[in-house]
């Protein structure tokens, strides 16, 4: 299975973007591209071709869920695992995020130091499930 390498992070809060980028690059060794909004991501994400998308839920103008739906229309992101990061992480909310296609949910505030390991774990699980699904239909 291919290792997680390229992560797109979409969040409207600048300080969170800066801290997350630093932690994921320095501790996780990932290549990170940050976007400050859903619209910004739609403009530039295909060129980056991420393995994983980390997506804030509460954003002005275009919410995380709206962004996810729009990203699924892009060929490069049609099946890319998406992890939501959100302070709205009640049980019923998490269930809803999973229903709309998230591979996982990370509640805010999160610890940036353990974030790389958390993302790796969710990504591996998502990839394993995808492989099993494809094998089952082969």
């Amino acid at each position: 299975m291919k290792a997680l390498n390229r992560i797109a992070f979409i969040d409207d809060e600048m300080h969170i973007r800066e801290i997350v980028k630093l932690a994921l690059e320095e501790l996780g060794g990932f290549k990170i591209r940050c976007f400050e909004s859903g619209m910004d991501a739609l403009d530039g994400i295909e060129g980056f071709d991420p393995d994983l998308i980390l997506l804030d839920v509460m954003m002005p103008k275009m919410t995380g869920i709206e962004t996810l739906c729009a990203l699924r229309e892009l060929p490069a992101c049609a099946e890319t695992p998406v992890i939501f990061v959100t302070a709205k992480a009640q049980r019923h909310e998490i269930e809803h995020y999973m229903e709309v296609g998230a591979a996982g949910v990370i509640p805010k505030p999160f610890d940036p130091i353990t974030l790389p390991d958390n993302l790796n774990a969710i990504w591996c699980k998502a990839k394993t499930q995808a492989l099993s699904s494809h094998a089952g239909t082969a």
């Binding site: 801290i19 509460m58 002005p60």
Partner: protein, 114 residues
């Protein structure tokens, strides 16, 4: 990485104080029944409190994040039609008090470097 992280936390410290100041101004205008719609101002204040909750927590200011969470939860109830502005005022005062004394060293992620 620690030096870079320290710099980001120091920068965020300044922004937090500005944001809490803005939040206080918004809440004062809401209580004063400012023209322009107290409901939309309240929603704006709640959005800022929500943002503070996440950004301060991610930057390691756990006490501050907890205070922002308490305020955000109460502002949500006001947005839903509640009228208890006194509790909002109290919770904001707690947030402001912590913010006044905030220093980068208060972040659990901040480590002095040689």
């Amino acid at each position: 990485m620690q030096e870079q992280l320290n710099l980001l936390i120091e920068k965020h410290c300044k922004t937090i104080k500005e944001q809490v100041g803005s939040l206080g101004a918004m809440l004062s205008r809401v209580e004063a029944g400012d023209a322009g719609g107290p409901q939309s101002l309240l929603a704006e204040a709640e959005a800022l409190a929500h943002q503070l909750k996440g950004s301060t927590g991610t930057a390691g200011f756990l006490e501050l994040s907890k205070a922002a969470t308490a305020l955000d939860d109460h502002l949500k109830s006001l947005c839903a039609g509640g009228r208890d502005f006194q509790t909002a005022h109290q919770r904001f005062a707690e947030l402001a008090q912590i913010t006044t004394a905030i220093r980068p060293e208060n972040s659990v992620l901040y480590r002095a470097t040689a």
